[in-house]
């Protein structure tokens, strides 16, 4: 697109002004000085972007498969392959709309001699999903800036950024224990490992009577072995609107990070044949394909077929909900969660304010508690942006479920809001720990695998 910019038309007015002043004050120099504005007018009128303008662009992405929340460096190299010098080349790289630039600028303005190159480097924050870069917008101006040509320049090299969470390469081997799939309990009964002895009660199995002791003392005693139960692990993802907060625009939200951690753990557990169920809390019916269950939860049991595919659908739904929220919300100081709860499926949903006081009123919490199988161990994934996760954890502790809370730390930057949010979150995690749960504070700077390994090891060694 070629466009003329009438920049220098003021020169004519300036020339007339000089003539007037010259006539007013009888100063011949000023009349001669009309040459100055007029030469500028001619300069603007005559300069054109030459036809031989030719540019090439190449893009390279440092890590085409990053993990969410990781900055990815992008470089765009622009080369003048034409025969003329370009005095003013402006380029804007076609960064995918969803990705936020966190470092540098995807824009550049420079001058290029023939065969000279200029490189523009910046970093985007990786988000879950596949994103395609658009063509770079390039505008070439003449030296007088009175003629400009704008084109969409196709870019060679890397064109996509894929941020998926396949776990095939995750080193989970050391987390797998010999008796995967069973959960040793602290109660006596039938089993393998010795637990305790007690006096015989009528009806005890004959094979558990300690016959040696009977021979010695003539008393019937029964041996209890440590009971073993099939492990049923339930992964609860906190995707309620308060959890969909992000420290900086473009950074994954707390809900997305929770879903990401849950997905990795789910994959690892599937490989170690632990029976795992997935539950997402706080989604809207339109986020989940097929809608929500009647109790307002998105729940996938491992027992049904295609459990892995269904679980993945739920994790994707969390991402969708977060994206929908970020579309409606203005990005900005999201360090403090605003509970607008337009996505709440049930209108009467209330925010839980205390760990023990307000728990009963929260329908999500009640639904989770009602749905949990009796022999489950629960892993809660929540950024702990409000008290809900703590309430859930303490309610679970009261019901003697082994519970783990994995919490991605969202606090970024040195702002006062971030500091307050961080302090509140620390206090919540401490409360969760005091109520008897294992708390894993996932600092985003360390890889999630470290946190997950800690979580897994803990899970299997209870």
């Amino acid at each position: 697109m070629d466009r003329r910019v009438r920049r220098w038309s003021g020169g004519l007015a300036a020339a007339l002004f000089l003539v007037s002043v010259s006539l007013l004050t009888a100063e011949p120099l000023l009349l001669a000085a009309t040459a100055i504005p007029l030469i500028y007018v001619a300069y603007g009128a005559l300069s054109r972007v030459s036809a031989g303008t030719d540019l090439q662009a190449t893009r390279s992405v440092s890590d085409a498969q990053p993990t969410p929340g990781e900055p990815v460096a992008v470089e765009l190299t622009l080369t003048n392959t034409g025969s003329n010098s370009l005095t003013d080349v402006r380029v804007i790289d076609g960064v995918p709309e969803e990705l936020a630039v966190v470092e540098g600028s995807p824009r550049l303005c420079t001058s290029l001699r023939p065969d000279e190159s200029a490189t523009l480097s910046y970093a985007v924050m990786a988000k879950r999903g596949t994103y395609t870069f658009d063509a770079a917008a390039v505008r070439v101006r003449t030296l007088s800036a009175s003629d400009e040509v704008t084109v969409d320049l196709p870019v060679a090299g890397d064109g996509t950024l894929t941020c998926s969470n396949t776990v095939s390469e995750v080193p989970m081997a050391d987390a797998t224990l010999p008796r995967a799939g069973t959960l040793p309990t602290d109660t006596g009964g039938s089993g393998l490992e010795f637990h305790s002895t007690r006096s015989y009660q009528p009806g005890d199995p004959v094979n558990r009577i300690d016959w040696r002791r009977y021979a010695k003392t003539d008393e019937l005693t029964t041996i209890d072995y440590r009971e073993e139960q099939a492990v049923r692990t339930v992964l609860v993802v906190d995707a309620r609107p308060p959890a969909r907060v992000t420290p900086v625009p473009g950074f994954p939200t707390g809900a997305e990070l929770s879903a990401y951690a849950a997905e990795r753990l789910f994959d690892a557990l599937s490989r170690t044949s632990v029976v795992a169920s997935v539950c997402a809390v706080g989604l809207a019916p339109e986020d989940v394909p097929g809608g929500l269950d009647p109790d307002g939860l998105a729940w996938v049991d491992a027992s049904g077929g295609h459990a892995a595919a269904h679980a993945r659908q739920i994790f994707d739904s969390v991402g969708r909900a977060a994206a929908r929220q970020s579309d409606t919300d203005a990005p900005g100081d999201a360090a403090v969660a605003e509970d607008e709860s337009p996505q709440q499926p049930r209108g009467e949903a209330t925010r839980v304010t205390t760990a023990d006081g307000g728990t009963i009123e929260d329908p999500d919490l009640l639904a989770v508690l009602a749905r949990l199988p009796p022999t489950a161990q629960v892993v809660v994934f929540s950024p702990a942006a409000d008290d809900w996760a703590v309430s859930l954890v303490s309610s679970l502790a009261v019901r003697e479920y082994p519970t783990t809370l994995v919490s991605p730390s969202l606090a970024r930057g040195d702002s006062l809001g971030a500091a307050v949010a961080g302090t509140e979150r620390t206090a919540r995690l401490q409360r969760a720990e005091l109520s008897g749960a294992t708390v894993i504070d996932w600092d985003l700077d360390s890889p999630i695998d470290v946190a997950l390994r800690a979580s897994l090891a803990d899970l299997f060694s209870v």
Binding site: R107, L108, C109
Partner: protein
């Protein structure tokens, strides 16, 4: 590339440095050619203060503080503007006049005019360049600042008007023997007010009394209604039932008012139609005397008048308080701030009135206008006093600021001056004008040419930088392209300057015709060149 991308439209550092640096250098050079040093310096400071005021009036973070400061700064800006123009005229007038011969008048006037325009041009340039650094010239901000200055001017204007009227009345009154204006107004007032406050005793005045009673009752009921009485009583069971009592009083007052309003016309008809004798005959003697005593008592009238006033004042005060409490502190502050600033300016003007007037008088006495000082200023000072004169001068200066800001606003509102490049355009226009007029003074040719080219460079670098900031943002690397662009503009300007020198050299040697014919010929050539350029475009 979208032209409507919403990026901060601040220009990159290199362009900004070019604009500010070139403006500073040229202003320094041009002001060196003006003989009125002090006025020139004041002009420069005024330019900076004006853009600071504009920035302050749009300071979102501390709106009230910004408005107060902008309002208080209005006086320095006004005084600076007056000194830059009037001061230059006065100080140069002393230098250039009186001229020795008739032929010397015209060059002296041109010289004076040129110097004033150079100072004003430099003021505009400094204002434009400093405003461009923060991008403070836009329609909204200029409009807001204009409003602040107008409201600031309102206070000294009102006070000045009151003082002026007082001085005028005193002056008229002091002229013994002539019928003073106060006598006339006094007579008029007496005729209107006497029937209300000081009725003729010994007869009934039921109509006017009823009207006054109705007014007082309505105002009292209004005031009572406005007061938050029931809110102030504690909400305990043994608290007095204020609500009911207040309602009863209010009801009584309202009914009294209505009744009085009904009685007034009837009584008026009776009083006018029947006359006092018939009324006295109609009514029992005791009642008639009671009515006469009550309706003609000046004390009672005064009481009713004060009740009316206090009721009205209470209603207005409560209304203002409610509004104030409901608005944010910042909003209240920014609405009231200009009046506070105006008050400060008024007090300041009154405080420094004596020395200020003495200073102006001394300065004027040193000029050829000394005779006018004796003839006009001294008598005016004698009549109105130094305070009134100082206030009047301050108000006139403030009006000049209002005028200048108004012109700027009109230029912006009509899009004659684009908000995005307004600062650099003003800077360039100021420099261009100042350089052109500097040519008529004893300025070296190179400085004139540098000024003309520099003005273009300032505008070009500024508008280029603004477009760049708009399209690419200030975060991107742009320095190289900016330097190349400015280099190109300077080079073209250099060619223009060389052409100018060549033209003037050739013209000087070759013109043998009458200068007027040469000028006419040059004008024709110029029109031809303009037409050619228009055709090329």
């Amino acid at each position: 590339m979208d032209d409507h991308t919403t990026l901060p439209t601040r220009m990159p550092w290199t362009s900004l440095a070019t604009v500010v640096g070139v403006t500073a250098l040229l202003v320094a050079g041009l002001l060196g050619t003006v003989s009125a040093d002090r006025a020139a310096l004041v002009g420069v400071v005024t330019g900076v203060l004006l853009s600071l005021s504009l920035w302050l009036s749009g300071w979102d973070r501390w709106q009230a503080v910004g408005t107060v400061l902008a309002s208080v700064l209005a006086l320095p800006v006004a005084v600076g503007l007056s000194v830059a123009t009037g001061g230059t005229v006065v100080s140069l007038g002393a230098e250039l006049f009186p001229v020795t011969s008739q032929a010397g008048v015209r060059p002296a006037v041109v010289r004076l005019l040129s110097q004033v325009i150079v100072v004003l041009g430099c003021l505009t340039a400094v204002f434009g360049a400093t405003a461009a650094t923060r991008g403070v010239v836009d329609t909204e901000r200029v409009g807001a600042y204009g409003g602040v200055v107008v409201r600031t001017t309102a206070v000294p204007f009102t006070v000045g008007l009151v003082l002026f009227t007082q001085g005028a009345v005193d002056f008229l009154q002091s002229n013994a023997g002539t019928p003073g204006i106060q006598q006339l107004t006094g007579k008029l007032l007496t005729r209107v007010l006497d029937p209300i406050f000081d009725p003729v005793p010994g007869r009934t005045h039921i109509a006017i009394f009823s009207l006054l009673l109705a007014l007082a009752a309505a105002a009292l009921a209004r005031g009572l209604d406005a007061l938050p009485l029931s809110e102030l009583v504690p909400e305990t069971s043994d608290a007095p039932d204020v609500d009911r009592a207040v309602a009863a009083v209010e009801r009584t007052l309202r009914w009294t008012g209505r009744l009085a309003l009904l009685v007034a016309p009837v009584a008026g008809l009776f009083e006018l139609g029947l006359g006092q004798e018939s009324l006295a005959g109609l009514l029992p003697v005791g009642l008639y005397e009671l009515i006469v005593a009550v309706t003609a008592a000046p004390g009672l009238r005064g009481l009713l008048w004060w009740l009316f006033l206090s009721g009205a004042v209470v209603s207005v005060a409560v209304w203002v308080l409610r509004r104030t409490v409901q608005s944010s502190a910042d909003r209240v502050g920014s609405v009231l701030a200009p009046y506070v600033g105006g008050g400060v300016i008024t007090l300041g003007a009154v405080a420094v009135a004596g020395p200020a007037v003495d200073g102006i008088e001394t300065a004027l006495r040193a000029t050829p206008a000394a005779a006018a000082v004796e003839q006009f200023l001294v008598p005016v000072l004698d009549v109105y006093g130094a305070e009134t004169v100082t206030l009047a001068l301050a108000v006139v200066a403030l009006f000049s600021v209002v005028g200048a800001v108004g012109q700027l606003w009109v230029a912006l509102a009509t899009n004659y001056l684009r908000a995005r490049t307004a600062g650099v355009t003003l800077a360039a226009a100021g420099l261009f004008g100042a350089s052109a007029f500097a040519a008529t003074l004893s300025t070296p040719t190179w400085l004139v040419l540098a000024g003309l080219v520099g003005a273009v460079v300032v505008w070009d670098a500024g508008s280029f930088g603004t477009t760049l900031g708009h399209e690419v943002g200030t975060g991107a690397a742009t320095r190289r392209a900016e330097l190349v662009h400015v280099g190109g503009t300077v080079a073209v300007g250099g060619v223009g300057a060389v052409a100018t020198l060549g033209l003037s050299g050739v013209a000087r040697g070759s013109i043998a015709v009458e200068p007027s014919v040469a000028v006419a010929g040059l004008v024709v050539c110029l029109v031809a060149v303009l037409a050619l350029v228009a055709a090329i475009r």
